[in-house]
């Protein structure tokens, strides 16, 4: 079972900032997106149990290679890094097109996507990609297992979960419930140094540079502001009985009870 894991290099959570053009500044240190590490962990477990290997795929600036290197140390066999100056400022539409073109060049049984990214919080790339590639789409997975010629997942529902099945190749969007990502071992880190990170340009994918990047963006950020400041907290340091009574008064004053 060969699995391609989509892995985005994102700014460390809490350090994100915008460029002057109001785009996410990705020139800062990038790490693997948290939700993508859960799917990577599951992909590694599945290939360890059933054979095959894991290929990482990312679209991003040169420094996204740091996130790939760590993921290789966790156990992925190889990585594909689509990197091209023309991609700077690409929006979701362009990113989906680039990912789709790259996936067409790769062989896989499953593609794994994370539930969303910490910098964009869109959560739509997996579904869009599956449709563009004509793949069955199984989302919000808390469990993934192979079947004969297909895949079975548990999809989180409001009341529990649904069990879904589809033939492979398929695209699975996974959640945190797939499992805590492993730490790279020292051996893994050593091995990762010699694992290949293949760099693909837009030309390699046959994509016209004018269809990506800032110039081709289908949406535009107009303004960014800090949210209104909270007034600052009031502190209660009283006995539990007095504190409870004061909280009730506070809630009542705000018409919350």
């Amino acid at each position: 079972m060969n699995i391609v894991v989509l892995l985005k290099g994102v700014p460390v959570v809490g350090t994100e900032r915008l460029t002057n053009e109001l785009l996410t500044d990705r020139s800062v240190a990038l790490e693997a997106n948290g939700n993508d590490e859960y799917t990577l962990e599951k992909a590694l477990k599945l290939t360890e149990a059933h054979g095959g290997d894991v290929t990482l795929l990312t679209v991003g600036p040169a420094n996204a290679a740091d996130a790939l290197r760590k993921a290789l140390a966790m156990g992925a066999a190889r990585a594909v890094h689509v990197v091209d100056d023309a991609l700077n400022g690409s929006d979701m539409v362009a990113t989906v097109n680039v990912l789709a073109a790259a996936l067409k060049k790769l062989e896989f049984d499953l593609v794994f996507a994370g539930a969303d990214t910490s910098d964009g919080q869109g959560g739509v790339v997996g579904a869009a990609l599956a449709v563009k590639l004509g793949l069955p789409y199984l989302s919000y997975a808390s469990e993934v297992e192979p079947t004969d010629g297909g895949v079975r997942i548990r999809r989180i529902s409001l009341t529990g979960y649904d069990v879904l099945e589809a033939p492979t190749p398929a695209l699975v969007m996974g959640t945190q419930l797939l499992g805590e990502p492993r730490y790279p071992s020292l051996r893994g880190i050593m091995q990762a140094r010699s694992k290949p990170i293949e760099q693909w340009s837009l030309a390699d994918l046959g994509i016209d540079a004018s269809t990506v990047g800032t110039g081709a963006a289908t949406t535009k950020a107009l303004d960014a502001d800090k949210p209104p400041e909270r007034a600052g907290a009031t502190f209660i340091r009283e006995t539990p009985e007095v504190a409870a009574a004061q909280v009730v008064d506070f809630l009542a004053s705000r018409r919350l009870i």
Binding site: D119, Q121, V124, I156, K220, A233, P240, V247, V248, F250
Partner: protein, 326 residues
């Protein structure tokens, strides 16, 4: 004149609350922009749900479609795409629920329409929607627009409050033929989990528990306070990882982003990964042993002390007040 659609969701033959919020928003945007609003309902029970949705103003287009054998987005997206092809609406408001996000992504794949996601509010300016996004987990508020004059907007729950219209909209049931369905995904089983808690996405009040709650038994205190307040139970990732409550209740970066009127954080330090999920709550009350914990930086009221002492007394005081009719 812009046509604005609210794409609703049907659950057990009724529109979800998010659907009613979107219908309200579509009506408000149409009023602001001199356009026409419509609510779309697709799925099992759409025709039944349409009556309630219509009370929020826009006329409802209901499409009965069997969503029992496939995940709902799989059925909804191609039908919606066919209707978009037929009617050419300018803007579609889609709720940022799990199903809504899937529908939005699929619809983009089917129609190529651009997407503004993560909407925390939508206004009308310069002839089009202006989408307010809570960016980087609320660190910034950004305003965005489409570069072209059509698009899909993902709107988070509680971005607008659902308000009934003075006059209900009409209801029209239509049939949609779909040229090609999406690649098949079968639902082979639907499993209800024993202690599924009230969903946090739409809750007006949420009581959250963190590592400071200590044990699964300690977490019962959180549930009792939530019950007394008539709210839902939320949790940090540590608590979910410990298995004290389901992932559906997790607030934060890899969980859900919520916007309740009141959030009571018990034994929660307020790490950035949790903060991003809840910092836009109307009022935040923290109960924490450590007055220096990060949560004090974004709470309105911080009760410094032992939650095991304070929470049961708070629960009792709220019950007493409510039963006293106060």
């Amino acid at each position: 004149m812009a046509a604005i659609w609210a794409v609703g969701e049907v659950a057990d033959g009724a529109p979800t609350r998010l659907t009613l919020e979107l219908a309200t928003l579509a009506r408000q945007l149409a009023e602001a922009g001199g356009g026409e609003a419509r609510t779309l309902l697709i799925g099992t029970g759409a025709a039944t749900a349409a009556e309630e949705a219509a009370r929020y103003g826009p006329p409802v287009l209901a499409v009965e479609a069997d969503t029992s054998a496939s995940p709902a987005p799989q059925v909804v997206a191609p039908r919606l795409a066919a209707l978009v092809e037929q009617h050419s609406p300018d803007f579609l408001l889609i709720g940022a629920s799990n199903d809504g996000k899937d529908i939005c992504g699929m619809l983009h794949g089917l129609t190529g329409l651009p997407v503004l996601y993560n909407g925390a509010g939508v206004g009308w300016a310069d002839g089009g929607p202006r989408v307010e996004m809570s960016t980087f987990g609320g660190k910034l508020v950004t305003q965005s627009a489409f570069a072209s004059d059509r698009g899909l907007i993902l709107v988070r729950p509680a971005s607008v409050s659902a308000e009934k219209a003075p006059a209900a909209g009409s209801v029209e049931s239509v049939e949609v033929s779909v040229e090609s369905e999406l690649p098949a995904v079968r639902v082979v089983d639907r499993v209800a989990e024993v202690a599924a808690s009230a969903p946090i996405e739409e809750a007006r009040i949420i009581v959250g528990g963190g590592r400071g709650v200590g044990t699964p038994d300690g977490f019962r205190l959180i549930e009792e306070l939530a019950a007394a307040l008539g709210g839902a139970v939320g949790a940090t990732r540590a608590v979910v990882d410990a298995g004290w409550i389901g992932y559906g209740q997790q607030i934060g970066q890899t969980g859900k982003i919520v916007k309740p009127a009141l959030y009571v954080a018990c034994g929660i330090s307020g790490a950035i990964q949790h903060k991003v999920g809840v910092q836009t709550a109307g009022t935040i009350v923290a109960i924490n042993r450590d007055a220096e914990a990060p949560i004090a930086e974004f709470a309105d009221l911080v009760v410094v002390g032992d939650l095991f002492e304070i929470v049961p007394r708070l629960t009792a005081a709220i019950r007493a007040r409510k039963s006293g009719g106060g």
